[in-house]
Symmetry: C2
Subunit: 332 residues, 2 copies
DNA sequence: CATTGTTATGAAAGCGCTTTCATGCTGGTT
DNA sequence: AACCAGCATGAAAGCGCTTTCATAACAATG
């Protein structure tokens, strides 16, 4: 690997000049620029990223901390994130928080030690305060969550709108007794979806019996258990809105075991529109979020914050309902 | 951020000693070690990764180049990879090749410029030669592919065994006319799965009519088209083995549209055991590969190659058949 | 022609570590 | 008492860049 010194010698200039040619920020006579450039070519020169980072104190890389790398749309999200970042020659350091608050913190420390210039955070477990403190230290954008005092740095999906739409859809089909299986309520998206549900119910002057809302754990098994809980409590609902597709699937499976037909006896609606939702029979009616757009916005916003690459765009995205086959009118 | 110098001053030792304490490779008197360590604590010291990399000429990071970040098990794979690497305090630079050979090459260059110490490659498009050349430059492990002259650095699934098992299973159920819908044949895994199919057929003295094998594109739509091609050619098969679950799902959907019952009229078997396979009705019989184990082995092997962290383990993994509901005995 | 201002360039000082080499200290050996 | 091996430590030289500061070259001005 050749160094800047060799390039400088070959071009007959100083290292400083080579550096200036690379940065492109400083005027350099056309003839010297050319000499330097051909020297770089001739030596197949690639600057040493570490030396550069050490001297300039920026890494040209951003960290991505993901609460759970295996989550539903992390794949889709990362594809876009990586793509946008690389278009500006920034690298992506990925680290997972493994769904554990303490581990999330440690992951952030890890990324910090790597001195990334900015950070993308999909943090479920960390508190607003910690996030705000971190945002003081370096440019940060929060994914899929709204931290009020950091609103300008949060790119997220309007989850209450999603919960609301799902519930409205059911109400529109004549349902009145609607159960809600939520995700873990310590996660913001779960509480927001629940809020959407409550809002829709309230708007339709439908009472929400506390027996009707079950806190699940976002897994298929959790969906099944939730149905059992509902049964045990003797809740007689004609529809259920689930906090995610996994739980919807689990609930449907259990419901069928108990002899209910979907959507004949009971309607079900999911959330996330995972890849498999339309493979189900019947296809799962669910809420779809524009993950790629969100990722794109997040990358752009971070680039703007960190490297002053200008961008103007929305930070909040609305999800929409995808109608398939798990919702039917209430039988009377 | 405090530097090594400050730590050294506070502890009353030289920078060299602090460095030695950190590396842990060199003997240091217990008392000085303690003084240094408490100084580090007091100053909340974290070494500057760039300075370290520059001086030592290793980045403590490995690059992951993935042919297609959005692929079926990339999520599962990355979770494990990241976890194992981080356990040794190595960071993971992720970059996607976007299913394009040229782009894969560029991605490798990108990672190379970032000076990672080693590289994990899930390369579909690059040639064996290129891979071998790269392996000369730095420690490399190839994921999910076998490059003969780099066998010791390839961690992969035995795809011919998978194709074989799928086909055997069908033959065992009395099927004789078995079609095969493959993935793009320029990808090694697709051709290997096809080889497995051919081997099983040959072993059972079953002729493979060239009309029976259709090259698909690994998508659901491709699965549907493949069925149409089969129909158009007038192939009368009682079973089909698909190159992946996506195509299996597409084929099943199209088959149903054409009035066939699964598995009553025709059996179908997939490959990959994607998350949704068991959600289908009936559940998709498919081939399951131990992705996590593979990822674990890959990480371990790379660590061994790059940082001499010893490890001894298998490099090839056998997939297995998961029986669900899409295969039945041949009706006579 | 002397003076000033402008601009491209070079010299050199770091950035914060690692690593080599030299050194001083200990305790065991003769 | 003299000697040496062994070992912990310090001094200092980089690693390959960026950036400040100084300077040479030149054009413009009075």
């Amino acid at each position: 690997m050749s160094t800047i010194r060799e390039v400088a010698e070959l071009a007959g200039v100083s290292q400083a000049t080579v550096s200036r040619v690379m940065s492109g920020e400083v005027p350099v006579t056309e003839s010297t620029r050319q000499r330097v450039e051909s020297a770089m070519q001739a030596l197949d020169y690639a600057p040493n990223a570490f030396a550069r980072s050490l001297a300039s104190n920026r890494s040209q890389g951003v960290g991505l901390m993901i609460s759970h790398l295996g989550g539903p749309f992390m794949g889709r999200m990362m594809v876009t994130l990586e793509d946008r970042l690389r278009a500006y020659d920034k690298s992506l350091l990925v680290a997972s928080g493994r769904s554990d608050p303490e581990r999330e913190r440690e992951t952030v420390r890890f990324l910090l030690a790597r001195r990334c210039d900015g950070m993308l955070l999909h943090a479920d477990g960390m508190g607003d305060d910690e996030l705000a403190a971190l945002a003081e230290r370096l440019p940060v954008v929060i994914l899929n969550r709204l931290v009020p005092r950091l609103a300008e740095q949060c790119v997220h999906i309007d989850n209450v709108a999603g919960g609301y739409q799902a519930t409205r859809h059911l109400i529109g089909h004549g349902h009145r007794a609607i159960a809600c299986i939520t995700g873990p309520l310590w996660k913001q998206d779960a509480t927001q979806r629940l809020m959407g549900y409550r809002r829709a119910m309230a708007e339709a002057h439908l009472a929400v019996d506390s027996d009707c809302v079950i806190e699940g754990d976002s897994t298929e098994a959790g969906g099944r258990r939730a149905v059992d809980r509902l049964e045990a409590r003797g809740v007689a609902c004609t529809a259920v809105v689930a906090g995610n597709d996994e739980m919807a699937v689990g609930a449907m499976a259990r419901l069928r075991e108990l002899g209910r037909r979907i959507p004949g006896d009971i309607s079900v609606i999911g959330y996330d529109d995972e890849a498999y939702a339309h493979h189900l029979t019947p296809g799962l009616t669910t809420i779809h979020a524009p993950i790629e757009e969100m990722a794109e916005a997040a990358a752009a916003r971070l680039l703007e914050l960190t490297y002053e690459l200008p961008w103007q765009g929305p930070l909040v995205f609305r999800p929409w309902l995808v109608e398939r086959g798990t919702v039917a009118g209430r039988r009377d």
